[in-house]
């Protein structure tokens, strides 16, 4: 089992609530249990093929739709997953609106999982969701993100790949 919760150092603190550090196996089970999960994947995923492979595997195995933010859509075009492009700031806006019916028209989501974003950017998105929605948010990236509900700690790219493999096993 890889340990991804050792380093939860932050550059700054952002308030009273900090996210719970979560291990990959637990994250995997939580994703499987979610009723309306959305996998939000950012453009940084395109910088590492191995990472993209695992993102596709997560979407497939857990059978969850992908919100492809930035230009990550390029990585999903022929991947046979249910992926749609959306701007992440717009997504964050809609996610706080109970009247939004989702990317598929079937209703608002309950769990957001993110991978492949700039740390400072996704943490701001999380800040909006934390304060103005009831969503559960799980970061499975390589930085500790205070504003998520749950997050991996700060880990190296190599450890992240291992952690994602373990997460996939637990889906």
């Amino acid at each position: 089992m890889v340990d991804v919760i050792k380093n939860t150092q932050m550059h700054c603190t952002y308030g009273c609530k900090t996210s719970k550090a979560v291990q990959p196996n637990v994250a995997g089970k939580l994703i499987s249990k979610a009723k309306r999960p959305l996998f939000v994947v950012g453009s940084q995923i395109l910088k590492d093929e191995e990472l993209l492979k695992r993102a596709i595997e997560i979407a497939k195995k857990a059978d969850i739709p992908v919100a492809a933010t930035g230009h990550s859509m390029k990585g999903f075009v022929d991947a046979d997953v249910d992926a749609k492009y959306i701007n992440i700031h717009a997504l964050a806006t809609y996610l706080c609106d109970p009247n939004w019916t989702g990317l598929d028209g079937k209703g608002q989501y309950d769990t957001i999982i993110t991978l492949g974003h700039y740390k400072y950017y996704i943490n701001q998105v999380y800040s909006g969701l934390k304060n103005f929605s009831n969503l559960k948010t799980i970061s499975i990236d390589r930085q500790y993100l205070q504003n998520a509900t749950m997050s991996f700690g700060n880990i190296t790219p190599e450890v992240l790949l291992e952690a994602l493999d373990e997460l996939i096993e637990n889906l």
Binding site: N7, G15, C16, S43, I88, A92, T93, Y118, Y120, F132
Partner: protein, 805 residues
């Protein structure tokens, strides 16, 4: 009876008696009456005068908050936990508190620009008097923002004094609203932020008009000269005099002194940030052919620390705004004296303004003082160049060495224990540890890669437990790259002229010129400086008008295309389809909003004076313009962007822009929000969901390209215009996202809106996937579109502008 004017005069026989009139009671009203121009409903609007317009905007464009901190610590009741939108001890909730903070950010920016303008204006009135005429080139609307907001048509420096009085009053009233207690509705803090943003464009316009009129800057010049840019363009063998900041007033004295004393060729004069841009405009009025800008541009804020650490500067002169707070201690380490020239930046230095020049020089060359505060520009003009000559010799003799030697570099790199602390601290989480690993094996290429992404902030060094001088390691590893950092920038040309607007206005409103892309703002890029070049190149090739200013204008010039040319050399500096225009420095941003106002005034004959709301309404519904502030970092960028929001111009920020903590985003799925009136009869008309935001962020430039095209779609597009815009939207989405956009059909009103080359294919998709009815024989759409195509419709959000049905 003749009217009294401001100025000085003597009375007949009374020798030695001179009367000076500075201000005439009621001058503003006089000024406003004087023009035969009709006055709109809101000359000199107060904080609440345009509130209805703001609320109209917010009805569709929701203020979206992404707080940096869930607490508030404004007053001693606090800190209060506001997480989950809870209320603090004073009753304010997280939304309203964030709106308040955003408003404060906007006002800080507006104050920076108008403070700058006030300083320049005082200085120029001192030199030339209040009656000095304004001249910005061929135009009947010298100051569109000033006129639209205040109703004043300024003609002299003195008129601008009156305008700034108004600006300052508004800023005071706005600042008062920040005090704890009072306002509780986020939306009204938002409206105040909009007011601050609008006021900012007035302040900026004043600043730039003053310098254009008094300092011989290009005046709406469609062919201004090219200046050198880049760390590599500075000759280190000459004495280096480096200026940093935004206010060129003191620097003009330096340039003059150097010219008068034959020093121009002997000293390398380089600048960082907007002062640099404005130095290249100084005395450049006239034809480009025979003129060479009088200084070189080193680059933006991101280059400040790197430039100092290089050890090249022999003297540093700073003025105001984006200047690193640690210039003095950093310079001191390398025996570089620092001269501060503005009361906004004094660095704790002794005020030597009234001291003897030789005494000051003696104290600075001996190192007795690390620098001096000099508020007397004539003295700055003499001391800075002389000091550069002297320090160059002294520093050479002392063998001042800045960057590490090869051996020291190796020692530094070997100290790294790969703890990742630097990466967590780095604003862009750059892979420093990995680069250290490779460097230990003698491979420094990763550091070269980091060099362009690194914004030179120095946070990594403070985090490193091993005290490695990481910035120096990056810079030393990249010496080869840095030496080749040489580009070209067109000197800022100032406003867009009336004849240019007259020619291009119709294309902009009908959409046959696909849009204006205004690239503005600072250097806090997410992924290096080249992004700017890539954006501009793509949009220029597609015949958008690209307008640039400030740090964006600089960084754009650092790259060359496949023909070895910068975009400035490749594309004409004209305001026309496919033109690339550098308006100038930060304060020149006002010319961009001014151009939009002028389109409404000149093309659509809209009244300008005191008619802000109608102009903004026109811009939102009919002028396809979008702003890009890819590296926005400052409060000034927040105020510039917010001024655009109030005028109905959408702006996209890079991902760091999310840290402004507030965006204005609409929901395209809220059908009822996408209706406007048709001013011909007051009936409601459906409009496409574009622009989808007035302020937002995005992740990468690849994502932004199709966003830009979509943001330029307006209800007023004719079929040709819509077809052109839709073509770019679809092509850019396919090129950069690999897919067709999933909402392109929402912008189709009839078959002639469809891109010509793809018409057949798209009609098929409309029939099969969207259930539209197509008459295939005539290739016509029979049913499906939710909007009608009617070029004579007059879309407006303002009921009052409608004729009765």
């Amino acid at each position: 009876m003749s009217e009294l004017t401001t100025g000085s005069f003597s009375i007949g026989d009374l020798e030695n008696v001179q009367i000076t009139i500075n201000n005439i009671v009621g001058a503003i009203d006089k000024q406003m009456e004087k023009s035969d121009e009709e006055m709109g409903p809101t000359p000199k609007p107060g904080v609440s005068s345009l509130r209805d317009w703001d609320h109209t905007i917010f009805e569709r464009y929701n203020p979206i908050y992404t707080p940096m901190c869930d607490q508030c610590c404004y007053c001693t009741f606090g800190p209060c936990d506001l997480s989950g939108n809870k209320e603090g001890a004073c009753g304010i909730n997280l939304e309203a508190h964030n709106a308040r903070e955003f408003m404060l950010r906007v006002m800080t920016g507006a104050a920076a620009h108008s403070g700058h303008g006030r300083h320049l204006l005082h200085h120029m009135i001192d030199l030339y008097g209040k009656d000095y005429p304004l001249d910005v080139g061929p135009t009947n609307i010298i100051a569109p923002n000033v006129q639209a907001v205040t109703g004043i048509k300024p003609e002299t420096l003195g008129d601008l004094d009156i305008v700034l009085n108004y600006v300052e009053e508004q800023l005071t009233q706005l600042l008062a609203a920040v005090h704890a207690g009072q306002e509780g509705a986020a939306i009204d803090f938002e409206s105040k932020a909009m007011h601050g943003g609008m006021i900012d464009h007035v302040g900026m316009e004043v600043s730039d008009i003053v310098q254009i009129s008094c300092l011989g800057f290009p005046k709406s010049d469609a062919n201004p000269p090219l200046a050198d840019i880049g760390m590599g363009c500075i000759d280190p063998s000459k004495p280096n005099l480096i200026v940093i900041g935004h206010n060129v007033a003191a620097v003009t004295d330096i340039i003059d002194y150097m010219e008068d004393n034959d020093l121009s060729d002997k000293i390398e004069l380089g600048g960082l940030c907007c002062t640099a841009l404005d130095m290249t405009r100084y005395k450049m009025d006239g034809s480009a052919e025979d003129q060479v800008p009088k200084a070189k541009i080193i680059g933006s804020l991101a280059k400040e620390l790197k430039m100092i650490r290089s050890g090249a500067p022999d003297v540093i002169v700073v003025d105001e705004q984006c200047i690193r707070a640690d210039v003095l201690p950093e310079a001191q380490k390398l025996m570089i004296p620092v001269i501060t020239t503005n009361d906004k930046v004094m660095y704790g230095l002794k005020d030597r303004s009234n001291d003897d020049v030789e005494d000051i020089l003696a104290d600075l060359t001996s190192g007795k003082e690390p620098g001096a505060l000099l508020l007397d520009f004539e003295k700055v003009g003499e001391i800075a160049p002389r000091l550069a000559m002297m320090m160059s010799e002294i520093r050479k003799q002392k063998g001042i060495k800045a960057l590490p030697t090869e051996e020291e570099l190796k020692d530094q790199v070997d100290k790294c224990v790969h703890c990742l602390a630097c990466e967590i601290a780095c604003p862009d989480n750059l892979p420093i540890s990995e680069a250290m690993k490779l460097a230990k094996e003698g491979d420094f290429t990763k550091f070269e890669w980091i060099h362009d992404k690194c914004i030179g902030c120095g946070r990594c060094e403070f985090a490193c437990p091993k005290d490695i001088d990481i910035v120096n390691v990056i810079e030393k590893s990249s010496q080869k790259l840095i030496r080749n950092e040489i580009g070209k920038v067109r000197a800022g040309r100032g406003p867009i002229s009336d004849p240019e607007i007259r020619e291009e206005g119709v294309n902009l409103v009908l959409g046959t010129t696909p849009g204006i892309v205004a690239m503005v703002g600072c250097s806090n890029y997410p992924d290096g400086t080249k992004d700017l070049f890539d954006i501009a190149k793509e949009m220029l090739q597609r015949n958008y008008i690209v307008v640039v200013s400030g740090c964006s204008a600089m960084d754009l010039g650092m790259y060359k295309d496949e023909d070895g040319l910068t975009l400035y050399e490749k594309y004409p500096a004209k305001f026309k389809s496919g033109g690339l225009i550098n308006v100038g420095s930060c304060v020149s941003n006002a010319h961009i909003t001014a151009a939009v106002i002028k389109v409404a005034a000149i093309f659509a004959q809209k009244q300008v004076s005191g008619n802000y709301e109608e102009l903004a309404d026109y811009s939102l519904n009919r002028v396809g313009a979008v702003g890009v502030a890819w590296g926005a970092y400052s409060q000034k960028a927040a105020s510039i962007g917010t001024g655009c929001s109030r005028l109905g111009i959408p702006v996209i920020l890079g991902p760091h822009g999310s840290k402004y903590r507030r965006a204005l985003i609409a929901k395209p799925y809220e059908d009822q929000k996408w209706n406007v009136y048709d001013a011909r009869d007051g009936s409601e008309m459906k409009i496409p969901a574009a622009p989808e935001f007035l302020l937002t962020t995005c992740e990468t430039i690849e994502e932004m390209m199709p966003m830009l095209a979509k943001s330029c779609i307006r209800p007023s597009d004719n079929n040709m215009g819509r077809m052109i815009k839709l073509t770019h939207y679809i092509e850019l989405s396919q090129k950069y996202l690999g897919v067709m956009p999933d909402d392109w059909q929402n912008y189709v009103r009839m078959e002639t809106d469809l891109p010509l080359a793809k018409r057949q294919e798209l009609l098929k998709i409309l029939e099969e996937e969207h259930g539209w009815e197509i008459d295939w024989k005539r290739k016509k759409i029979l049913s499906g579109p939710v909007m009608k195509s009617d070029v004579s419709a007059q879309p407006t959000n303002l009921k009052r502008l409608c004729k009765e049905a």
